[in-house]
């Protein structure tokens, strides 16, 4: 048995330790976010976060990540309370078939976690490993920009309300 921490929940799985995380997420844990695209680390459809970094879950054996934090797109929000990044993708209508989108969101989420105000070039560079075949790229870029702005606005609000209390 291997212990994993997925979306804040501790789980024990009996899959072979060499099994890539993707199949454990989709099969054993019945999560849908991470998608099978290539199994080769070439397309990014399977992208999830391990601790704070975006990884190809199809290339990550579960033995390597025992006890580390795994976040999938399901861990970012719910119908009632979508995450900031998820809401930005909805607001920009940034999907066509949508198969690549959960991977895009997780790649972008890892970016905004390490950089509060990424430039356009940094956003493109961060998303570079992920492929989209429908040609939704420009909407995806707009969604990430929108999420960055929303996070900055939320921080500014928080700072000014702290300031107001302080004054």
């Amino acid at each position: 048995m291997i212990s994993l921490l997925v979306n804040g929940r501790a789980v024990e799985v009996d899959d072979d330790p060499g099994t890539p995380l993707l199949y454990v997420l989709r099969g054993t844990l019945q999560l849908n976010g991470a998608k099978f695209g290539c199994g080769l680390g070439q397309c990014g459809a399977c992208t999830v976060m391990v601790d704070d970094a975006a990884v190809f879950s199809c290339q990550t054996p579960i033995a390597d990540i025992a006890g580390r934090r795994v976040t999938t797109v399901e861990g970012l929000g719910t119908r009632q309370h979508p995450g900031v990044m998820q809401q930005a993708f909805i607001d920009e209508q940034a999907a066509q078939c949508g198969y690549c989108i959960a991977g895009m969101i997780m790649r972008a989420q890892a970016l905004v976690g390490r950089s509060a105000s990424p430039t356009d070039d940094e956003i493109r560079a961060a998303l570079e490993p992920n492929l989209c075949r429908c040609g939704t790229h420009s909407r995806i870029l707009n969604a990430v920009r929108r999420a960055v702005r929303a996070r900055q606005a939320a921080k500014a609000d928080a700072a000014s309300s702290v300031g107001a209390r302080g004054g």
């Binding site: 999938t72 993708f89 078939c97």
Partner: protein, 741 residues
């Protein structure tokens, strides 16, 4: 928010139009209103035979029904593409969903509303003209209201549609024409179960197929004893040269598949064309001529117009659909009945093919469409359904899920065919196009089922079915000759399609079919003629067009791009192209700005502006999304893509060996202007951008660095070679596809 009927009842109007008029859209093949629409205590359900492929069709269809039924879109549930529940609308293809299903649903909803108003008039003892339909109820002037559900019984809508419908006034749209947020997007960004890959019926097992190494390979032997001992393995399926394995868990199936592949011995034969000579070979493959158009004196001797004559040849290699999610299907064979969950574009044709494959009567086979990854045409979806069927028949009572591996999709999907177009055109003294001769060569552009032999897995069964004999798709839609006829007014013109039956590589329908290459060729050549005649390429186009809607998209795209006032910086250029898809569907014009690095030939697309007229726009943002996507996909095809092969094997087996567009290649801006035409027929949207985007790109490259590339893709190598005179000359002498302009 309401509908009031005029003095003459709609039914009376319909009678006056005559009973023999054709029913609109797919009502012609499924005329009963309750095939499309049911109203009961649970709400309003709309049925469509068209599948959501990521194009947003569900949202648009709901908007249509909501408009005509005077309800909010949220009040409607949509059921799509299920042979047990929905009308047979054939394939979701050819940008036809709005014309076929959209038109049917809009008319059915309008007629249903009319029936509800009639029933309410009797119940309320009111004149029908004084009643209004609003928010799911019929309302009388005195404020009394009856909910729709209270007005209908089981049989109320079980009536045949009539030719004319009391459609709402296009000047007072409430839901249509608005960018309603797509209903499917929230679930996709939240990671809910949406895709066929997300279905997990109780007892489901995972299967993988061991494909032959090449198209005509035969399985000589396989020792599966060691595979059967692997953890979780349930069965090895062998039937002739067909080889598969089923296991409890998905990764167990993959491990077993790899072991089984190592244990299999194959005998290979057959040969593929020599890739470096593909177009020379293609020009010589046996063919038959399909005349597309001939008018004026184009059959006669050339050069009688006294102007300049130009000739050119344009090419594209084989292109992949390249879905990001490889094909998948689940099949359950239980008590003599087969149920197949599939992301096929055509559940009814697939049902017939699977019935033939399984030997079951068609009524014992049910196909249910579930969304897959975007397909862009005939990819592996139907084949995966065949795989699941073959394996499920051996494992009765268990849902069998077959997920294709990346290499299954890359190596075995049917590609968009290689194409070759030769054109000769003459300008008269005034710089107008006096004469045009055009010949396009390609394989068929559809090998869809059809029968079971269209399903690739059937080729390897003991009772083996070879590929079906190809046929050209008839005009006016056409296949390889789709958009081969220019929309321009040219007096002397001859257009032919050299249809090539032999198919050394597996091919079928790829988004826009022949229109991608034909529009690339025609619109590139227009640019070459414009340069030769020293006229602006947009002026040359407009001078030869009679259709004001064509001119409108051209002028809109040109203005928004800033065509006239454009100042060219070194290494940059602008390109323009236009087409009306199939010459009868959506109009689209595109302007593109590129920069080309003279040192290495790399193209960067900086900016794209497009204008599209697809008739009445039901969801303008949905149209923009489709066109933006079509442009980017066509740029990917046209900059990077061509299937690679050696004399025996396809060698493009993954994304490293078949590169596509990445984020670094995405233009800084893509603007799409939708020219809405309220009250006009739907023209479809999905495929309109493919040809114009390719041609505008090539024209922009020619403008930037004065080299004309006539073979797709426009790779950096090809452009660099064309910019280097010595290499260009030797290349030009060899294949004639690049030249200085």
């Amino acid at each position: 928010m309401s509908f009031a009927l005029g003095p003459l009842s709609a039914r009376a109007q319909r009678r006056r139009r005559g009973a023999d008029a054709a029913l609109p859209g797919s009502l012609g093949s499924s005329p009963m209103l309750d095939s499309w629409l049911r109203i009961d205590a649970r709400g309003i359900t709309v049925f469509t035979g068209k599948a959501e492929l990521g194009q947003g069709i569900q949202t648009a269809l709901i908007q249509l029904a909501a408009e005509e039924l005077a309800v909010e879109p949220a009040a409607i549930t949509l059921v799509a593409a299920d042979t047990a529940r929905t009308p047979n609308e054939g394939y979701t293809a050819g940008s036809h969903s709005m014309q076929d299903s959209g038109t049917a649903i809009m008319n059915a909803a309008a007629q249903a509303r009319e029936i509800l108003l009639g029933i309410a008039a009797e119940r309320l003892q009111q004149e029908r003209a004084r009643l209004q339909a609003e928010r799911g109820a019929v309302v009388a002037p005195d404020g009394r209201r009856i909910a729709y559900a209270s007005l209908v019984s089981d049989r109320t809508l079980h009536v045949s549609a009539e030719p004319g419908s009391p459609l709402g006034d296009p000047a007072h749209r409430r839901v249509m024409g608005r960018s309603w947020p797509r209903i499917d997007i929230p679930a996709k960004v939240l990671g809910e179960a949406v895709f066929i890959q997300d279905l997990r019926p109780v007892g489901m097992v995972h299967a993988r197929v061991v494909r032959p190494p090449s198209y005509e390979a035969r399985l000589r032997s396989v020792d599966d004893a060691s595979v059967l001992r692997l953890p979780g393995v349930l069965a090895v399926v062998r039937d002739g040269s067909y080889l598969a394995v089923a296991a409890q868990r998905e990764y167990q199936a993959i491990i077993a598949m790899e072991a089984l592949a190592r244990a299999a011995r194959w005998e290979e034969k057959g040969s593929l064309p020599q890739q470096s000579r593909l177009f020379e070979e293609l020009a010589e493959w046996p063919s038959r001529n399909v005349p597309v158009a001939a008018r004026g004196a184009a059959d006669g001797v050339h050069g009688s117009h006294g102007g300049r004559t130009l000739e050119a040849e344009y090419r594209r290699g084989y292109l992949m659909h390249g879905s990001i999610g490889p094909s998948c299907a689940i099949a359950l064979f239980d008590r003599g009945a087969l149920t197949v969950w599939t992301h096929s574009q055509g559940v009814y044709p697939l049902r017939n093919a699977l019935a033939e494959l399984s030997g079951l009567p068609a009524q014992r086979v049910r196909c249910i469409q579930v969304e897959g990854s975007g397909c862009y045409g005939h990819n592996g979806a139907d084949d995966a359904a065949a795989d699941a069927t073959i394996i499920a028949l051996k494992l009765p009572g268990r849902p069998v899920r077959v997920q294709w591996m990346r290499s299954d999709e890359h190596l075995w999907e049917p590609y968009g065919p290689a194409m070759l177009a030769r054109v000769r055109g003459t300008l008269d003294e005034r710089g107008n196009i006096a004469r045009w001769e055009y010949q396009v060569s390609s394989n068929t552009h559809s090998t869809r089922p059809g029968g079971a032999r269209a399903l690739m897995p059937s080729w390897f069964l003991e009772r083996r079915l070879g590929p079906s004999a190809p046929e050209p798709i008839p005009l006016p839609a056409g296949g390889g000759d789709r958009n081969a006829l220019p929309l321009y007014r040219i007096a002397d013109l001859k257009v032919d399609y050299r249809f090539i039956p032999p198919m050394p590589l597996r091919v079928s329908a790829l988004r826009s079919l022949g229109a991608h290459l034909n529009v690339f060729a025609i619109e590139s050549f227009l640019d070459e003629l414009a340069r030769a005649g020293r006229v602006d390429p947009i002026d040359l186009r407009v001078r030869h067009l009679d259709d004001p809607r064509a001119v409108a998209v051209i002028r809109t795209a040109a203005e928004r791009f800033g065509w006239r006032k454009y100042r060219r910086l070194d290494g940059r250029g602008k390109g323009f192209a236009f087409a009306r898809y199939k010459n009868l569907a959506a109009y689209l014009a595109a302007a593109i700005e590129v920069s080309v690095d003279r040192s290495d030939g790399t193209v960067r697309v900086l900016r794209v502006v497009a204008a599209v007229d697809s008739g009445e726009a039901v969801n303008p943002d949905g149209i923009r999304n489709q066109i933006e996507g079509g442009i980017l996909q066509a740029l990917s095809w046209s900059l990077f893509e061509s299937v690679k092969f050696d004399r025996m094997h396809i060698t493009s087996r993954d994304w490293a060996s078949y590169p596509i567009l990445h984020f670094k290649d995405v233009p800084r801006s893509i603007e799409v202007e939708v020219l809405n035409r309220p009250g006009h027929p739907f023209l479809g949207t999905g495929e309109a951008a493919q040809g114009p985007a390719a041609a505008a790109l090539a024209n922009a490259v020619a403008d930037a660095v004065q080299v004309r590339i006539r073979e797709l893709p426009l790779t950096a190598d090809r452009i660099r070679a064309a910019m280097t005179p010595s290499i260009a000359l030797s290349l030009g002498a060899k294949d004639g596809s690049e030249a200085r302009v």
